[in-house]
Symmetry: C2
Subunit: 347 residues, 2 copies
Amino acid sequence: MSKFWSPAIRSLVPYTPGEQPKVLNLVKLNTNENPYPPAPGVTEALHAFPTERLRLYPDPDAGKLKNVLARHHNLNAEEVFLGNGSDEVLALAFMAFFRHDKPLLMPETTYSFYEVYCDLLNIDARRIPLDAEFRINLDDYQQDNGGIIFANPNAPTGIALPLARIEQLLQQNPETVVLVDEAYVDFGAESVIPLIKRYPNLLVTHTFSKARSLAGMRIGAAYGHPDLIDGLQRVKNSFNSYPLDMLAIEAATASMQDDAYFRETCKRIMDTREHTTAALTGKGFKVLPSAANFIFVTHPERDARELMQQLRNENILVRHFTRPGIDQFLRITIGTDAEMAQLIEKL
Amino acid sequence: MSKFWSPAIRSLVPYTPGEQPKVLNLVKLNTNENPYPPAPGVTEALHAFPTERLRLYPDPDAGKLKNVLARHHNLNAEEVFLGNGSDEVLALAFMAFFRHDKPLLMPETTYSFYEVYCDLLNIDARRIPLDAEFRINLDDYQQDNGGIIFANPNAPTGIALPLARIEQLLQQNPETVVLVDEAYVDFGAESVIPLIKRYPNLLVTHTFSKARSLAGMRIGAAYGHPDLIDGLQRVKNSFNSYPLDMLAIEAATASMQDDAYFRETCKRIMDTREHTTAALTGKGFKVLPSAANFIFVTHPERDARELMQQLRNENILVRHFTRPGIDQFLRITIGTDAEMAQLIEKL
């Protein structure tokens, strides 16, 4: 605390990212990173890049990458927004669309950064409990609001909603922005991007940190009606004109150009997830049905926090959240088959 | 305009960066980029980086780079903050320190992003005119305030204040944060970083985009008392946990390790600036005394806007600002000797 701080920041409770240990040889299943490297074309693109060009500013709109993403998703470039990781894209979206008098609706259990943005931006949030099976029940979101946000699949549960149910919500809620955070969509859920042309209030965010194996490069995107993208651009250009560096643009573009590799690595992770789920279920764990690159597990007789500590002593990192209601669960990232075999053995 | 936008963003006037043309073979003297490539070690570091590591998140604190910068400036790592370009660092600093009831003091003519941040964050700014010679007069800043910001050297004038005069201001103004934006300090001005240990309200921002030739990589820093850095960290971690990607950290670290190259290229730019200033003065231009990598020039008989257009027709880009009081000036980035010879010939 310092007298120099703006009053608004004195009470902030910042987001706590999962630990990035400096120790090597850990089995790191705590931050939902991809166990496979980025597409081979990424290395080629980075090595081919003429370093002398770094003296120049990047294209503030990263037009090259926008065009590639627009083509991939059957959108126009005017329906694409880019930022320094999907966390930044989300922060800008909260600024652009959720600072209204009415409360923002979000699941009580979801990506914990959402409530941090609300705190930072003085947004009133109404946090809606999950149902008894830890699912988002969109019937509960039919109430007066200044916006709606949820992750699909949700985090840290991994459970996905069907596209048809989200479309129903969009029909019922045409007056405020519905933001669907699809950070984990590529591991088995349905993307709502095809609905963008029909619902001008739908904003969808993606990241290159999970299925694209580029967490180290910080690239996020949003897709929506040009008016929403324009709103995001206005906030971005009032905050930081050039969020994506030249190498991030190159890496992301190269990644998008190798769809076979992308599909293959996503499939491998989904296969590993199903084996792991079966093995842990066999050991008495309850595993929520995941459409993400992680599983959310609990055991009727073992304390989650202790389990996390014991795994840590065996050099295996998993994530434990202390929030009431989910404090007996562990979130375990899907690694390689070999890593998951180690985990299963230790458990 | 869209009904979905938060009311606060409807009236935003975003920052307009200098044009990044897609045409090649232009003499680009409009965005204060360095004409020389980054240090040779940057290329080596980028090529040596194992791309497979990009699947992991970067160190959220970029500790490796913080340590190198702390050592370079005789500070501790707790006195260093890093962000995605100094624009982001400035935006976070405005959030952290300038949202008070009293107005923020800034020069009327300075980096135009400052007033955009005020607009975005609803900060009341008092803009103080330069003197008749286009200099900042710090006597005018002795008034009740919620913070003070100026660039040293100032932009777009290029004129620097002496360290002793800034120290005097710090003595007179101990209760609010004084932010000195030193984006251009390496081209001949004195850095106030040595004052940090004595003035807990002094915050200094730097960029890797100018003297370090890394505009394409988006790296900025702030230096100050640990309480100020802690305030910045809190806001950063409530906005975007990982602003610097792995390759930006590598590139910046490698750049810091080649001080001889850095000094040599800065010196070349300063030499070119002095030749250019002499040549333009000889042609009847008035050139403000610059300690930056650009000059701010006016001609008693030629309209600045027309001149900018004529140069553009000759494939030479320079920057013209329409703000009253400086609308008869052009801001010209110092390029190579050959580029400046072309400019002088066309003028």
